[in-house]
């Protein structure tokens, strides 16, 4: 592991993130629109269940959405780097592919953690009263989930050569992942085939873990689908899997 290399890959990403203020605003705007417009609209249709109003129910899902978008956007900047040639500068350096993947995944993690913490700060507005421990636990889950999704994004990025593939990724990967994650509705209510798909989605487990922390006493449809241990293991192992896979696909081309 080359710590200098990992450090500078992360530093570059953060520097660019700070310089592009508009990117932060639009990244924050999307989840807020879902929370306060879509959420408010649907909550008129859906009765509060087990004491949990709909706007609270989707809160972990909205955090998951923030992480999903910002982690994948951050990771697929690799496609831009390939397109504009900068990736070559990194690939010919005496740095292991593993370090490059870790550097990129950590950049995505930090960027998306910053954004999810900003969204988390809106918890009093939707009527939560959380203690410090709950807030820290949610932040911790957000960090792990961000790393996992960022690593997944890197795997995606290694498959695509040009940014024309961006809309493909948006429509066929990001949106389905969001809709099949238990963010907007409990996955236990989904038809079989969609429920199975949701079970294969790492985002599902991250959002489910947050439900454990945010609705400790929830019953029925509001309750989490998996045990906390299951979610933790799935996130851990899928992160490892994605990191190894990304490292492999970064190896020298034929």
């Amino acid at each position: 592991m080359e710590f200098n290399a990992i450090y500078v890959i992360v530093a570059r990403e953060l520097k660019k993130f700070v310089r592009e203020k508009s990117r932060l605003f639009s990244a924050i705007a999307r989840p807020l629109l879902w929370l306060f417009i879509v959420g408010a609209g649907i909550s008129r249709l859906v009765p509060r269940e087990a004491g949990v109003p709909y706007t609270q129910f989707i809160f972990p899902g909205i955090l998951g959405m923030t992480i999903l978008f910002s982690s994948i956007f951050s990771s697929i900047s690799i496609i831009w780097d390939k397109e504009f040639g900068f990736m070559k500068e990194i690939l010919v350096a005496p740095v292991s592919r593993f370090s490059i993947v870790i550097g990129k995944a950590l950049s995505g993690t930090i960027v998306s953690l910053i954004q999810s913490v900003i969204i988390l700060a809106f918890f009093p507005v939707v009527g939560f009263s959380l203690d410090g421990m709950q807030v820290l636990s949610v932040i911790f889950i957000c960090a792990c989930l961000s790393f996992c999704i960022s690593a997944f994004g890197i795997v995606l990025a290694t498959f695509y050569e040009s940014y024309e593939s961006f809309s493909v990724i948006m429509n066929f990967i990001i949106m389905p992942m969001f809709f099949l994650s238990g963010a907007m509705y409990p996955i236990r209510l989904l038809p079989d085939i969609l429920r199975i798909a949701a079970h294969l989605n790492p985002l599902t487990y991250g959002i489910d873990a947050m439900k454990h922390v945010l609705f400790p006493d929830a019953q029925g449809n509001m309750a989490p689908d998996f045990s906390l241990a299951t979610s933790a293991l799935v996130i851990l192992f899928s992160s490892l899997f994605f990191v190894v896979l990304a490292g492999k696909s970064f190896e020298r081309k034929k």
Binding site: K88, V92, R252
Partner: protein
């Protein structure tokens, strides 16, 4: 002791052989040129040498390290300036250089000094805090060459370093590059398809269709042509061609309505020509051999001919191949 050793290198992409049994050696401290049209296999060879591609067969070693088995050692020993720019345009000149210094693990105490040093060397110190996207093509190229020097490589690879630059920037860059071996104690391996540029090289390999067809110093290559080239325009190229061939017993080639012939002594050749075909001559000019003539002589075509046709097709096929794999 050669610092680059390449033996029987072959690289195939699907049904295209981009590099076909190439062998050469480069001496330490020299400027070695790879000259050939686009698609001749120059960039593919560089990509193999700098460990981005693995060859189909053959071997390559740099500073005593095998390019296939010790990629990390090879990467430490080399600096590369690719054909297309690889700077981050959204970072400043200094940030791009610092990024490189960290990436190559340049020591904490010398990082800043090295970056400042190369910035002064390329005359961009005053603009170190400007974003690279505000730089001209020539400035970007200089910055890239400087970046390649930060980790003090033994060899600097330059792939078509002057592509897309205006003539003045090209001239400046060449002056700058030709000083590098002396000032920075570095061996240079460069590719170009500009004949004039290859003249600064200590040795040149001429490559066409993936094969090295000549390898020598520029002056020896020119000598091998066997003299000066005389270009003649006439009212009747066909019959003139036959007459000249009969008279001088030398090969005459026709290209774009102009005949050309290589004679050992151009100055005495011309009067004799005029005596024989005088009434048909429209113009005569004599040219001391250039590397372009060397190439023409070896392959029967000018180097620029390939640019838009064969070369790009190869490039396109290689790209398509890499997309699929």
């Amino acid at each position: 002791m050669p610092i680059i050793k390449v033996q029987r290198l072959v690289k195939k992409f699907a049904n295209i052989t981009a590099v076909n049994d190439v062998s050469f050696e480069v001496e330490e401290g020299s400027i070695f040129g790879f000259l050939g049209p686009n698609g001749a296999g120059k960039t593919t060879t560089i990509n193999i040498l700098c460990t981005l591609l693995s060859p189909t067969s053959g071997s390559a070693s740099i500073a005593g390290h095998d390019c296939m088995n010790e990629p990390s050692e090879v990467r430490k020993a080399i600096g590369i300036v690719f054909q297309d720019t690889t700077l981050d345009k959204d970072l400043t000149a200094q940030e791009n250089l610092m990024f490189h210094a960290y990436l190559y693990n340049v020591g904490k105490d010398i990082r800043k000094k090295r970056v400042e040093e190369v910035l002064r060397f390329i005359d961009l110190y005053e603009r170190k805090d400007d974003l690279v996207k505000k730089f001209s093509g020539g400035m970007k190229r200089r910055l890239e060459v400087a970046r390649g020097l930060i980790h003090r490589p033994k060899i600097l690879f330059l792939d078509e370093p002057t592509l897309g630059l205006d003539p003045q920037s090209r001239a400046n860059l060449w002056e700058f590059i030709s000083e590098l071996p002396r000032k920075h104690n570095v061996t240079i391996f460069m590719t170009t398809h500009y004949m004039e540029e290859a003249e600064v090289c200590s040795r040149i390999a001429i490559i066409d269709n993936g094969k090295i067809i000549a390898l020598d110093t520029p002056s020896e290559l020119k000598k091998a042509i066997g003299g000066d080239v005389v270009y003649i325009k006439t009212t009747d190229n066909l019959s003139t061609k036959q007459e000249l061939e009969r008279l001088f017993k030398l090969g005459v080639t026709e290209k774009e309505g102009e005949l050309s012939m290589t004679c050992p002594m151009g100055d005495t050749c011309i009067p004799e020509m005029i005596r024989t075909i005088g009434d048909k001559v429209l113009s005569i000019r004599i040219q001391r051999p250039t590397l372009n003539d060397v190439f023409l002589n070896l392959t029967g075509k000018a180097i620029r001919d390939e640019e838009a046709t064969g070369g790009d097709n190869v490039k396109e096929s290689v790209r398509a191949y890499r997309r699929r794999h």
